[in-house]
């Protein structure tokens, strides 16, 4: 920049404002906007479906209670992580997650593959009183969930809002939703959500994703299976 240009920026606030805004927008457009139009961002997985009304209610309770402040929902393609939690996470698994709930801190373990790990009754007991099952846990107790009935009054507008942002709920599904929630407690919803987490992808689907490496941005399979290549 020549001395002259610097002077203009130093003297003319309007020009400084415009140039600063443009400079801020360059990186933003490339790294935040452009990816929306890129194919590799979200690989379709045919077995991934929208959440049922009950699971959705559970997810909303998960958000309300801020479980994401202690739990992550992404298994990284690292050997120890795959051993501990299971198959590493694929982009397509989160296609209907508005918002994403990956978290940033593991005060408790990752929950991306928690579905099916324990029976429902374990979760009920654990949510009610975590220390009755894991003596030195510091997870808060959520006993009130078992006695709080679900409020079905918002479910239609919730599913409607999700449809607006792209989740393919049908009119029938939305109409039937309140009935599915009748008589259920918050605990039922919470457990339904936990039990579906990470289960929508089956082994066969995983293989196809990894094979179609042309569109798949995921880390190569070899990283996961060979012990020596834990981190490149």
């Amino acid at each position: 920049m020549s001395e002259n240009q610097v002077n203009v920026l130093e003297r003319k606030p309007v020009i400084l404002i415009i140039v600063t805004l443009l400079v801020i927008l360059i990186g933003s457009v490339v790294t935040a906007l452009l990816p929306f139009f890129m194919e590799g961002m979200e690989v379709k997985i045919s077995t991934v479906r929208p959440y049922t009304a009950l699971e959705l209610e559970g997810r909303d309770i998960y958000m309300r209670e801020g479980c994401n402040n202690c739990h992550t929902q992404t298994v990284r393609p690292l050997r120890d992580e795959v051993l501990r939690y299971g198959e590493f996470s694929k982009s397509g698994e989160f296609a209907y997650d508005h918002p994403f709930l990956w978290g940033s801190k593991r005060t408790g373990p990752d929950l991306a593959r928690i579905g099916g790990k324990y029976p429902d009754s374990w979760h009920v007991q654990h949510m009610t009183d975590p220390r009755s099952l894991v003596k030195e846990s510091n997870m808060p107790a959520y006993a009130f969930m078992a006695t709080t009935p679900l409020d079905p009054s918002n479910i239609k507008s919730k599913m409607g809002a999700l449809r607006t942002v792209g989740v393919p709920y049908t009119d029938e599904e939305i109409a039937a939703a309140p009935e599915l929630l009748a008589g259920k407690t918050e605990m039922d919803a919470m457990v339904a959500y936990l039990q579906v987490l990470g289960t929508m992808i089956n082994k066969a689907a995983v293989e196809t994703v990894v094979d179609s490496a042309t569109v798949s941005p995921v880390v190569p399979d070899s990283l996961v299976t060979t012990p020596e290549t834990e981190v490149k």
Binding site: L25, G66, C67, R131, V165
Partner: protein
């Protein structure tokens, strides 16, 4: 001369800075203790998952923004040599802002949360945030546009960047479709949502924890030391490279996640490059001291600012290293990260903001600081508290990362997750002690400021009564 400048907003935001500041620190101590004593989760309104966002939002947007607003209302008119553009709007905005923060605290207690970090507030409150930000922008930019000086000092550049950056980031990350008054769903899904969130999240670091604090540093540091800034040109070069690079780095929060590799790599590269502009500011601060390092002994405020910029320097070396894939695989998701976070927030951010008030409050109340001795006590308390906090968390973080990775000879995992929790309790205890010491320092600060205000108000009362 001083009378030209409206001091009402500065005085008012000083109070809100102290109130939200002490409150968010108290929340910090409470959540820290909850991790050790889960019995402290009193019912759903006071459980950890709801309190943690109150602590983070309270720190950044209650304490931080109040401080940034107060100091901007002080320095922008003085740098532009122009009266505040719309003083009435500033008054109105003070109440709007505080109403918004109070609503934020209440709704987060009630569990109305979008869960996106530093953007947890639900849509009606987001609208209030946008409004108070626009009003702040109008006042600041209006004052700058009516300036009577020819050149704009670098602090004004950083204020402008802050205003624009926060506006762009906040709006685009919070776009959502409401389902009811306090429930909405993000416009974006999954990987894209994560990517947009961390583009926002890291740039909240850039435009709340960095650019306004650099504006404050470059204005108040030369004032308190009575030394001219070493190089205006260096600060301008650092400005452009910082403002350009920060926006590319969001995905360094998403290393090893399903976000495409190229995005991660771009973020890592830009994170490493960010060392240059960050250290441009650090070096500018150090060289400003020139041959006057004896001020570290004689001038309590030089100590605050030099320590603040030093923490900033350490922070901007540690941050880029955390972005590297191999290091990330060890420390990501562990307590190392809160260690990093609090070196920046407690060391650089809070230290610099509080020090500036020691300069501003005596000036606008036309008196001396109530007690330099107490200010020194404050310094040593927050310094000790912060060091204890970060060091205990770095050790805990590496331990957790190593335990999660450790395998036996047969390739099986050596530790259960619970083993790593059990081993962490001692560090969470130590962190809580550090936090309590830091909070004590902040209370000493608040007391000193109140006493100074009282002293100044009494002196001016005597003066006016004497005149009558």
């Amino acid at each position: 001369m001083e009378e030209r400048y409206d001091s009402w907003p500065v005085k008012a935001y000083t109070y809100s800075m102290i109130i939200w500041g002490l409150a968010s620190l108290l929340y910090g101590v409470v959540i820290s203790l909850q991790l050790v004593y889960p019995g402290l989760n009193f019912g759903e309104w006071f459980s950890y998952g709801r309190l943690r966002p109150i602590h983070t939002n309270g720190g950044a947007f209650g304490f931080g923004l109040s401080g940034i607003f107060a100091l901007s209302y002080y320095m922008v008119p003085r740098l532009a040599k122009a009266p505040l553009f719309l003083p009435k709007l500033a008054k109105f905005n003070f109440w709007l802002y505080n109403l918004t923060i109070a609503a934020a605290v209440i709704t987060l207690h009630l569990g109305f949360s979008t869960t996106k970090e530093y953007a947890e507030l639900e849509w009606p409150i987001d609208i209030l945030v946008v409004l108070f930000w626009v009003f702040f922008a109008v006042n600041m930019l209006g004052t700058i546009l009516t300036k009577t000086v020819s050149k704009m000092y670098v602090s004004l550049w950083y204020v402008i960047a802050t205003i624009l950056g926060v506006a762009v980031l906040y709006i685009f990350n919070n776009l959502a479709v409401p389902a009811s008054l306090f429930k909405s769903y993000s416009l974006y899904a999954g990987v894209n949502d994560a990517n947009v969130q961390w583009w926002y999240g890291h740039n909240a670091v850039a435009f709340v924890f960095t650019t306004p604090i650099l504006a404050i540093f470059f204005y108040f540091f030369p004032k308190v030391t009575n030394l001219p800034l070493f190089s205006h040109r260096l600060s301008i070069v650092a400005f452009w490279s910082l403002v350009f690079m920060y926006l590319w780095t969001g995905a360094h929060h998403l290393i090893w996640t399903p976000v495409p590799d190229w995005l991660q790599t771009v973020a890592i590269a830009f994170s490493l490059m960010l060392i240059a502009p960050s250290w441009g500011s650090v070096i500018n601060g150090y060289l400003t001291m020139g041959n006057n390092w004896e001020q570290m002994k004689t001038n309590y405020l030089a100590k605050f600012f030099i320590l603040g910029i030093t923490f900033y320097g350490l922070q901007t070396l540690q941050g880029p290293s955390q972005a590297i894939r191999s290091i990330s695989s060890l420390i990501h998701y562990t307590d190392w990260v809160p260690g990093h976070v609090h070196m920046g927030t407690m060391g650089w951010f809070a230290m610099t903001i509080m020090a500036s008030f020691y300069y501003v409050i005596p000036k606008i109340y036309k008196t001396d600081l109530y007690s330099v001795k107490l200010a020194n006590t404050h310094f040593w308390l927050v310094f000790t508290g912060q060091i204890i906090y970060s060091i205990s968390m770095w050790i805990a973080g590496i331990m957790q990362g190593a335990m999660w990775k450790a395998t036996n000879a047969d390739g099986s995992l050596k530790y259960t997750f619970q083993d790593s929790i059990t081993a962490s309790y001692i560090y969470w205890d130590i962190r809580s002690i550090g936090g309590i010491i830091f909070l004590a320092g902040a209370i000493v600060f608040a007391y000193n400021i109140f006493k100074t205000i009282q002293q100044g108000s009494q002196a001016s009362k005597v003066k006016t009564e004497g005149a009558v």
